[in-house]
Amino acid sequence: MSSLLSVKNMSINFDTPRGSLEAVRGVDIEIPAGTSVGVVGESGSGKTVMCRAAMGLLQGSNVKRSGTVVFDGHELTAMSKEEVRNLFGSGMAMIFQDPMTALNPVRRIGSQLSEGLRVRLGMSKEDALVRSKELLELVRIPNAAAILKSFPYQLSGGMRQRVMIAIAIACNPKLLFADEPTTALDVTVQAQILQLLRELREDLQMSMVLVTHDLGVVAGNTDYVAVMYAGEVVEYAPTTKLFADMRMPYTEALLESIPKVDHKSGTRLAVIAGRLPNPTDRGAGCSFAPRCKYAQEKCHKEHPELKKDPDGHLYRCWFPIGVAL
């Protein structure tokens, strides 16, 4: 299968007053065309930075990048800001976590939605508004004509996220980055938005990168999952394979910490003790070792290499679960 997006050996460092901060370390990721890939990890694990870098968005003077990003035959890392920008909308698009702040509060929905259509597709104002109304209907917003004239504050969080999705898909992107698209929403609305994204992906033949901290969200909505920890991809596998036969103790711990409706009430939840290591000093061994219940001496001293099962399942662990040593 051909890759729509291919990230090779990507590292991102930020210069900070307290030293160089290693946000992403040597990440390799392939997004095959027509698939949905989940990126899972805790706050601060580098998921958002990785996505932004993959979109070519991180170009500040305090950012040090290395590695290559190839999207649909274009090597983004070798292109100028303007050239990358021309790929936004029709090539790649993004929806953000917080629908409350991602929209401009002083512009009507219609003007924000038609902007991309006019700039990218060269539509006239009238045509763009007609298409905007169709797009709102496509994301199942009732009464689309009235919503076009509304301001963001007049809409609920779920409605705003639907508007964000409409803006993102306006120019038929090949790849949609969804960065925690449902984290700020109620569970009922979350279920609706995830269903909408599934349907749109099928109708528009769109690939998706779904960033989330919740393995539950990933389970029904992705074909592949990359688990990130401390700036690295520590496990990568097809979604069904990952859940059935996970290799990383971190993935297991993350899954166990989810509160589930079929838990017996009053039982204690499993926790991952401690927290992410300091990003300016990751230490020599495995980054997860201080929190890992299976950690041995080797884990604290040597950084594990990325290993590969014959079926392509990748993991970064000295003592993986379910593998005889």
Binding site: E42, S43, A244, P259, V261, S265
Partner: protein, 339 residues
């Protein structure tokens, strides 16, 4: 039709069958109504004639979507602002009748933990000042006693006093800020803790830590808790009783195990079906709850959930369902409960 003591007409509540009327009740709320006037002739009916009680040592979870009135309800219990009508009885005292100064001292026995742990702490105050503030205002002990108390509280919530005392909230992660909020809420030895979505803003891995901590603090300090959330999975681990709310009314009240294994209200079932399952081979095929709740300015007649309910009949529009016991300890306000 009922007439409230402030003159306006209020809608009938969904009944009181679930009230236990025992002397062990720490908090008893009867016929609580909160309405906000937003324009000359527009009134938001946030909470409509709601009753419940919480027994000593119990955790009552209040669950519902955004806008169902759960936060308004919690604030009305604390008289922030006072409700339009109804009684809030804490330890035998009706808070709605208390003069201002007595209310202020009554509030020390009930504390609240908020959803956003970072913005609910003053960024200019150190952790020491944050936790000391309530102790100082109420003159609890000498300087040395207060410092010892602050250290104990921080140890209790799993923070190292020497490392955190002189730092400010922006230097901490969301989970750590929530621990500080919990320490601050416990400073005055409250009898009752109201947690308003305490883990919604946190990562799943941190959620579990905070939920376990709240459970420990409850056992250690002998607290009675009200726990508000939109996520049924989260409340299961911590609650003894769950109350599901929709548009300012009660849908269902039951013990968690009964409610989760056999939900009787269609709304409870829809909420349960929305929780993502962390297993790709076990995805649900059921129909999702569509749309969003109608405006609380103009709630539907009869059963308020009927506009989104697939089992709704003519009767649901005409007659408001009252809470009835469908199984021991399980109460549901529905004309067509799931059996």
């Amino acid at each position: 039709m009922l007439v409230s003591d402030r003159g306006g007409v209020v809608m009938a509540g969904s009944g009181t069958a679930h009230m236990r009327n025992t002397v062990d009740a720490v908090l008893t709320v009867r016929d609580l109504t909160v309405e906000f006037r937003v324009a000359k002739d527009k009134i938001v009916k946030a909470v409509s004639g709601l009753s419940f009680d919480v027994i000593r040592g119990e955790t009552l979870a209040i669950v519902g979507e955004s806008g169902c009135g759960k936060t308004t309800l919690a604030r009305a219990v604390l008289q922030l602002p006072p409700p339009n009508s109804g009684e809030v009885v804490l330890d035998g005292t009706d808070l709605t009748l208390l003069p201002k100064e007595n209310l202020r001292s009554a509030r020390t026995s009930m504390q609240m933990i908020f959803q956003d742990p970072i913005s609910s702490l003053d960024p200019r105050m150190t952790v020491h000042q944050l936790i000391d503030e309530p102790l100082e205002i109420w003159g609890r002990g000498t300087r040395a006693e207060r410092d010892e108390r602050i250290n104990n509280l921080l140890n209790n919530v799993g923070l190292e006093p020497e490392l955190v005392l002189n730092r400010r909230s922006y230097e901490f992660s969301g989970g750590q800020c929530q621990r500080i909020s919990i320490a601050r809420a416990l400073a005055l030895d409250p009898r009752m803790l109201i947690c308003d979505e305490p883990v919604s803003a946190l990562d799943v891995s941190i959620q579990a830590q905070i939920l376990n901590l709240l459970q420990d603090m409850k056992d250690q300090f002998g607290l009675t808790m009200v726990f508000i959330s939109h996520d049924l999975a989260v409340v299961k681990a911590v609650s003894n009783r769950v109350m599901v709310m929709y548009l300012g009314k009660i849908c269902e009240v039951a013990a968690p195990d009964a409610l989760y294994s056999k939900p009787a209200h269609h709304y409870t079932k829809a909420l349960l079906d929305s929780v993502p399952i962390a297993d790709p081979t076990r995805q649900r095929k059921t129909e999702l709850l569509q749309g969003e709740p109608p405006s609380p300015m103009n709630p539907p007649s009869g059963c308020r959930f009927r506009t989104r309910c697939h089992a709704a009949s003519v009767r649901c529009a005409e007659q408001e369902p009252q809470l009835q016991e469908v199984a021991p300890g399980q109460f549901v306000a529905c004309h067509h409960p799931i059996v």
